[in-house]
Symmetry: C2
Subunit: 332 residues, 2 copies
């Protein structure tokens, strides 16, 4: 196949940042995505209806045409009473970060059961609960698996709450999502389908492939690829594209996050093609996520040509995933 046309994609997990960084990165997502679920772990975080409105306005003011699907951050002080106001402000989901597990999660949740009244209010309001599924304090390679007990408890206790296990990285997590009820889905990133820990610390150390959760073993990556390419409606794209300046990556204490926005569809087309699953690509990028969130499918389309191109070494001071590599597919 040399040409590929599909519905414009939905990125169900995206970090856009604020200010100059937002203006710089948003066009690369907008080129490929019709909509994106916007992560709320900005500084300050998106906690209140006012925060939601302010952040949504900032995104829309950039004028790229990408429709932001807004979220709020669940913190210990989030009350059940606040949920309706957030819903009215337009959020589609609330994002729960366990305390300290990733960028700007110092105010994350440590007692997951204490939040039950909030989950209940979200269930009632028809909001999605997005979980960063890592257990604080566990060894980095075990952190996701260690969270699955908590995940199972919440998904079982709230069968009518839509729950997304974000950026799954392990065989264990894929299996747990498959076994969970119809209220449960999972996002998979582009980079976790493409790399393992070997691409972070296997040869040299590459901070641009460093993210949370950390990329795992080859078997885990294969399980993610199998889930994404299977067409199973529980699994959909959430890139977790997370830009950091080159200075905050190439240092003694580098930030977590892989900036995939400029290469999302070309890399995915490569992976799906290699797995004889190009016919399932649109389900993964443009149907399963929208269906799970209860959104109409995008009508606009996007076309890729098989025409190789070299990924830039940097986009406005941010090193992208696959920097300097040649990719086979190109967005027209």
């Amino acid at each position: 196949m040399t040409e590929l046309t599909l519905r414009k994609i939905d990125d169900m997990h995206l970090h856009l940042r604020q200010g100059a960084m937002l203006k710089s990165v948003l066009p690369y997502s907008a080129k490929q995505c019709a909509r994106a679920v916007i992560m709320p772990n900005t500084l300050p975080p998106v906690l209140t209806p006012k925060d939601v409105t302010r952040y949504e306005k900032e995104i829309n003011a950039a004028g790229t045409g990408l429709e932001p699907l807004m979220t709020f951050k669940l913190v210990a002080s989030t009350t059940p009473e606040s949920i309706l106001g957030l819903k009215k402000a337009g959020v589609v989901a609330g994002k729960l970060y366990p305390e300290g597990v990733t960028t700007n999660s110092e105010d994350g949740v440590s007692d997951f059961e204490a939040m039950y009244p909030v989950y209940q209010a979200m269930e009632k309001a028809g909001l999605v609960l997005c979980l960063h599924g890592e257990m604080p304090g566990a060894f980095c390679m075990d952190r996701e698996s260690a969270f699955l007990e908590t995940f199972k408890r919440i998904t079982t206790d709230f069968p009518n709450l839509k729950i997304v296990l974000e950026h799954v990285t392990t065989q264990d997590a894929v299996e747990a999502v498959k076994k969970a009820g119809p209220n449960v889905g999972a996002t998979i990133t582009v980079h976790h389908m493409a790399i393992t820990l070997d691409d972070v610390v296997g040869d040299k150390i590459n901070p641009h492939n460093f993210c949370k959760p950390i990329a795992k073993r080859p078997d885990d990556r294969d399980a993610l690829v199998a889930a994404a390419t299977s067409g199973n409606a529980k699994f959909f794209l959430g890139t977790d594209s997370a830009p950091h300046t080159i200075e905050s990556k190439e240092c003694a204490c580098g930030a977590a996050g892989v900036y995939t926005a400029p290469v999302v569809l070309p890399v995915l087309a490569d992976i799906f093609e290699a797995n004889q699953a190009l016919d399932h690509l649109e389900a993964f990028t443009s149907i399963n996520g929208a269906t799970f969130y209860g959104l109409p499918l995008n009508e606009e389309t996007i076309t890729l040509h098989k025409k190789s191109w070299d990924v830039a070494s940097s986009y406005d001071g941010v090193v992208p995933f696959m920097a300097g590599k040649t990719l086979a597919w190109q967005v027209v």
Copy 2:
């Protein structure tokens, strides 16, 4: 205990580099070490008697008093006939790097059995075989365990060849060394007793804690500490202290190696004290290695005081292990 006096230490695995870097790092090892086994993976490598003599001269010319125990690098073209000449040039050991597993190992060995005639010549000459025990191509966390079959075969086939499994990092490797014959020992580094993969990629990404073999799981670290602090004569210090400039670490493609030379004894004293094993520290640092190599014990002593000090953030452009941290023990 507030003062600790022991025989000056032997570092049975040390990278000194060449030129300006050698002059910069050697004094920090010389301050604590009487002798050190000098790794031959320089550029160009130490392959011939002439290389050995040239490199030894360069080290001695620095005039630090540290006695270099010279080694040569085993490569595919190393012949059994060359071993006697190397022995006469003064080497104590030959170092085998599997192809591509670490810094400057592109010319390493890929067929371990093809080297049997060389091992035989080394056995006859009374030289030690030092193995970098990682299997090329295996997943980074499995690379050492994947090498153990090869290790077992060589150690069994050459019961009279002294063999050191260098910088062991896993429970598996510790067990394999314990089970092996009296011809087999292992070095353990300071940093592998102090860190796990969490200190490389658990929170932020820290290139200064990145080395080969990569630091493993908490259970693995505990097994190393148990082996080192047990007094078992098979286990001895080999720091693998490996300086790289800050530019070659804090970049998109950072080099492997932890620079521990300036902090070796203070960090070890901390670890041994925390494990109620200060009475075994001298065996680990100054007796077991010398005995294994058949060398007389160092007569000169070194004293540590319990007096806290802050590790510098950089030594001549090289970031040390524990940079900026406060250590409890200080070399007088």
